[in-house]
Symmetry: C2
Subunit: 189 residues, 2 copies
């Protein structure tokens, strides 16, 4: 089965990203099409990019944290970025984590579980797509976009609605198809 890395892309105190990530990991496990791994950028704790070489050079990497991140990414066949929108754009921890590597991302599909108060994170997803294109990834048209105003109750608890589940199923189906096609492409290359 293809390996799916679910990348939780918010690291700030008070974030809800890991809660949304845990919900999506449950949906992905139940889907059955992937070996599911959650990679929490807060736990990974990468510093701002500090390698002496450029990512395009593909290593060897000077730092253990880069080797660990490279191995986790290299092992994956598909990605879902669980990502907040900050000021219409993507988060700094996500951009930093993407910019750290290069060939490890090549020819792999990516889906999105985005969130924001009312924008549902959609503007951040659109800003991210050209970045993923530069990394030779295949961003899916399908996404799950979570308007926090609608699914977080007064206590701050996430209450997923049926639309989120349906969107996640459709995205996972497409992601599985693309993961198989792109894995075949990587093998053939």
């Amino acid at each position: 089965m293809p390996r799916l890395n679910i990348v939780v892309a918010s690291t700030r105190p008070g974030r809800i990203g890991h809660v949304i990530g845990a919900w999506f990991a449950g949906v992905a496990a139940a889907h059955g099409g992937f070996e599911v791994h959650v990679v929490d950028l807060a736990e990974l704790n990468l510093p701002f990019h500090d390698e002496p070489g450029q990512p395009v050079d593909g290593g060897p990497y000077a730092h253990e944290h880069t080797r660990r991140w490279s191995e986790a990414t290299d092992a994956a066949d598909a990605f879902v970025f669980v990502m907040p929108e900050y000021n219409r754009g993507y988060s700094a921890p996500l951009k930093n984590a993407l910019d750290y590597l290069y060939r490890e991302w090549h020819h792999k599909p990516a889906g999105f579980v985005s969130y924001g108060m009312s924008s549902a994170g959609m503007r951040a997803v659109e800003q991210l797509k050209p970045v993923l294109g530069a990394l030779r990834m295949v961003p899916l048209a399908e996404s799950v976009n979570v308007a926090l105003r609608q699914v977080v109750d007064a206590d701050g608890t996430l209450v997923p609605n049926p639309a989120m589940g349906a969107a996640a199923q459709g995205m996972l189906d497409e992601l599985r198809l693309m993961a198989e096609l792109m894995t075949a492409a990587r093998v053939a290359a």
Copy 2:
């Protein structure tokens, strides 16, 4: 005179951003329209956003590094971001530094000295403009876009060309005009 903060937005080892920033600071000082300050994000050394509160709440800030950054930004009347392009987008250190604050950016103009191998950083500037809009800044149409292939010699030395100088002069003129107008707007508000 209005205070101009020149923000050097690359922090990685081997960067050229501080060299381009030093060149631009010299041009800005000679221009004579601003009290010029260089804020190097590598020296500022902000961690990924780690305040318990959200920037939109405007403090009080829990961390000394946030208070220092807030004070430096609050004191400025205009900004120029000396910014690289990584994978078609803005750098993580720049987005992190912007996302740390909110009201400190309001109603202030921003120009750009962008750089990239052949894109001259223009795609990163365009990705940044909606972010600055969300922060109530006024991004200028004028910019200096540096194609590194054309102005860095075989030894890695920056050799600024006349087009860079002319673009910088035009941007600084517009920035001075906008700084005066926006300072008046802040006083009136």
